[in-house]
């Protein structure tokens, strides 16, 4: 088990220039923002259950760029069907990374289904993700980080994180601003 802020720092310490990130609603958005706001991140303040599918649309549109959706277990559970959709479509440049602490951090730490035995790695594998990582230590985190560059392939990773509530680090909240700066960063808008 890893502290979430340590996990995100290690994961993105040597972030490839062409890695674009979709952090899911809630804690993972604050985690990614704790590293500093970056135009290559499309932060979600809502749209629960949508992070992985936004990642899919983006990965299909930009096959030469690497895309990572980094979200929490509760957000992933709300869009569980998207794991099936993504595995069937098999984009080679997409990583789905779930920070799993078994609780809904934003609403008061109520248990999610992963606390009761729902196994997201097994779920992803049964959907057809050939490359699944179960990350619980710093060396494993470094292995995952190494796959976030070009040629890493379609992958699913669960990162087991400590149940804690570090201070929120809030990014820009205007969705249109986040969208436009992201599109400029990826070269999709003037």
């Amino acid at each position: 088990m890893i502290e979430r802020r340590e996990a995100i720092k290690r994961l993105l310490a040597n972030r490839p220039r062409d890695l674009f990130v979709v952090p899911g609603l809630g804690s993972t958005t604050w985690d990614v923002t704790s590293l500093g706001e970056d135009a290559r991140d499309f932060h979600l303040w809502g749209a629960m259950g949508g992070a992985a599918m936004i990642g899919l649309g983006l990965a299909l549109a930009q096959p030469d760029k690497r895309v990572a959706a980094i979200t929490g277990d509760g957000e992933m559970l709300m869009g569980l069907g998207s794991l099936a959709t993504i595995a069937v479509k098999r984009p080679p440049n997409l990583a789905i990374i779930v920070f799993d602490n078994g609780v809904y951090g934003e609403t008061g730490m109520q248990p999610s289904h992963t606390s009761s035995g729902v196994d997201l790695v097994a779920t992803a594998r049964s959907c057809g993700f050939a490359n699944c990582l179960d990350v619980g230590s710093e060396p494993e985190l470094d292995t995952l980080a190494g796959k976030l560059g070009a040629g890493g392939g379609l992958l699913f990773a669960r990162v087991k994180i400590v149940r804690e509530e570090p201070p929120r680090v809030l990014p820009e909240r205007d969705g249109a601003v986040i969208k436009q700066r992201f599109r400029r960063a990826i070269g999709a808008a003037p």
Binding site: W45, G46, A47, G49, A51, M53, L60, A61, Q62
Partner: protein
């Protein structure tokens, strides 16, 4: 004159659409097949329609245009995800085959079918309706222009009268 789904497909190609999300649907069957056969289009079969809203947002972030094809019952599945479209002013183009009207035989289709228009309007999605085959292509052209040119969300409803009464093949 080609059948309306072929003309709708032509309109999507003219608009530069590169991603098509859909939940399999009898009314959209011909259009879906045309998209699946087109190597220039990413066809994405969805487990639920809200995935297609998020897909379209992601496509736009990466510089591609997407559309979402669904049946009227799917509109209800999209409501919260449409907040992503409205908050971020993403372009969003939907084609909705209608059930629950005209010669409907299944009462379970009526509640969602009859609320599609007000629900979409409450979500600030503009609604157009095609009732005759000749309506479809010009409505699609105009909607695509306004969606991708002016960052609007537009749903084109394809009336059950246009699609025809559902007939079970077996």
């Amino acid at each position: 004159m080609p059948h309306w789904p072929d003309r709708l497909y032509a309109a999507l190609k003219r608009a530069g659409v590169r991603q098509v999300g859909y939940v399999p649907d009898a009314g959209h069957a011909r259009l879906i097949q045309l998209c699946c056969d087109d190597p220039g289009i990413h066809d994405v079969a969805l487990t639920t329609e809200e995935e297609g809203v998020a897909l379209a947002a992601g496509a736009w972030l990466g510089g591609q245009r997407a559309v979402l094809l669904m049946q009227s019952s799917g509109v209800g599945n999209c409501i919260n995800m449409l907040s992503l479209i409205r908050t971020c002013r993403f372009p969003m183009l939907m084609f909705v085959t209608m059930r629950g009207e005209w010669e409907e035989f299944n009462p379970w289709q009526v509640p969602m079918g009859s609320t599609v228009e007000p629900v979409l309007k409450l979500c600030q999605v503009e609604v157009e309706r095609a009732s005759k085959p000749d309506d479809v292509e010009p409505l699609a052209d105009a909607a695509a222009q306004r969606v991708f040119g002016a960052d609007k969300a537009v749903a084109v409803l394809l009336s059950q009268q246009l699609i025809g009464k559902k007939v079970w093949t077996k």
